[in-house]
Symmetry: C2
Subunit: 178 residues, 2 copies
Amino acid sequence: MGDTPDGTTSVPEPSLDEQIAVYQREFQDLDPQVEKVVSALSRLNRRMNVAYGRQTAALGISNAEWEVLKALVISGAPYRMGPSELAKQLGLTPAAMTHRIDRMTAEGLVTRERDESNRVRVIVELTDEGRSKWLDAMRAATIFEEDLLQDLSTAERGVLGDMLTRLLDRVEDLQSPS
Amino acid sequence: MGDTPDGTTSVPEPSLDEQIAVYQREFQDLDPQVEKVVSALSRLNRRMNVAYGRQTAALGISNAEWEVLKALVISGAPYRMGPSELAKQLGLTPAAMTHRIDRMTAEGLVTRERDESNRVRVIVELTDEGRSKWLDAMRAATIFEEDLLQDLSTAERGVLGDMLTRLLDRVEDLQSPS
DNA sequence: ACTGAAGACTTCATACCTAAAGTTCGACGC
DNA sequence: GCGTCGAACTTTAGGTATGAAGTCTTCAGT
């Protein structure tokens, strides 16, 4: 029907609703309402990560490095954490954390030193430059985020935040059924 | 104060609200409502990917392979696509797509052949085994997804889907300002 | 037809992640 | 005190991604 002359069909990318319609044909038991929520979540996150990646690249750091800066700032002054603590929060293996800290130390974003009171431990600390990069990235991010939510009223933002928080609580229950 | 005896402080992971409270101290211009939405989105997606990863691993495929199967099924019968088309939808480089198709071909999930009508093109086609794996993964995924949304009423699910779709439209506008 | 430009995929070099083994230090029992 | 266990981090090996260069096919101009 609406195909292009050659075989490519040019597929710019199927819209969410088109995608769900096909899924329903292929898989009868599908709840389209549920599928819409999870597919939108997944797509949205991919796009947002692309956007963040562009912003951090413009500042000369990677998205991965920004995650580390964020975790350190969130820990509060004096902005110090151990590698394994960082790894846990970022969902990385300790090995990956070691390498990432290597790179960030070389770039002057953090320092690494042994804890003198317990020499098994290592302390990663944010440098002034690291804090400054975090601030720059944060400024860019908040502009983007405000722009992203522009079409939602204050009330809607509140409702959305609540619902997402509830989903988050739920998924944490499912994963650690204490 | 509330610290554990040793130095670890055990940081199970800061709650969303704790995290935002620190952010506000460190960065005055932050809108906590906006931050709550984007942080919840990000965390939620990470958890969901972990859950999907467990399920697909149990079926003997990776999350990455499942993404390819999904794209092929969504394209509709006869479940054929070109590598670059797939790469675009999955957000990969063509090179990564080549390797992924290599692996999946070796595992019997898809076949790869040259398009005889245009010998520059390659056609990736879902095998019966690939379709069967997709179905298995889909069954597991829908159970998880239904479980995840369990606490939301039908009306809430609809509202959530609408809001996420609007955000998705917005982010697509921001990225391709046609 | 022949040549050059553009497109589709692959290959190569490099980067970063995971899993598992290795190293070093601190804690506990004898 | 001394030896063993366990914890925290690092190192190594292997897999999968990216970016750039290479190969092959098609299309358009002459």
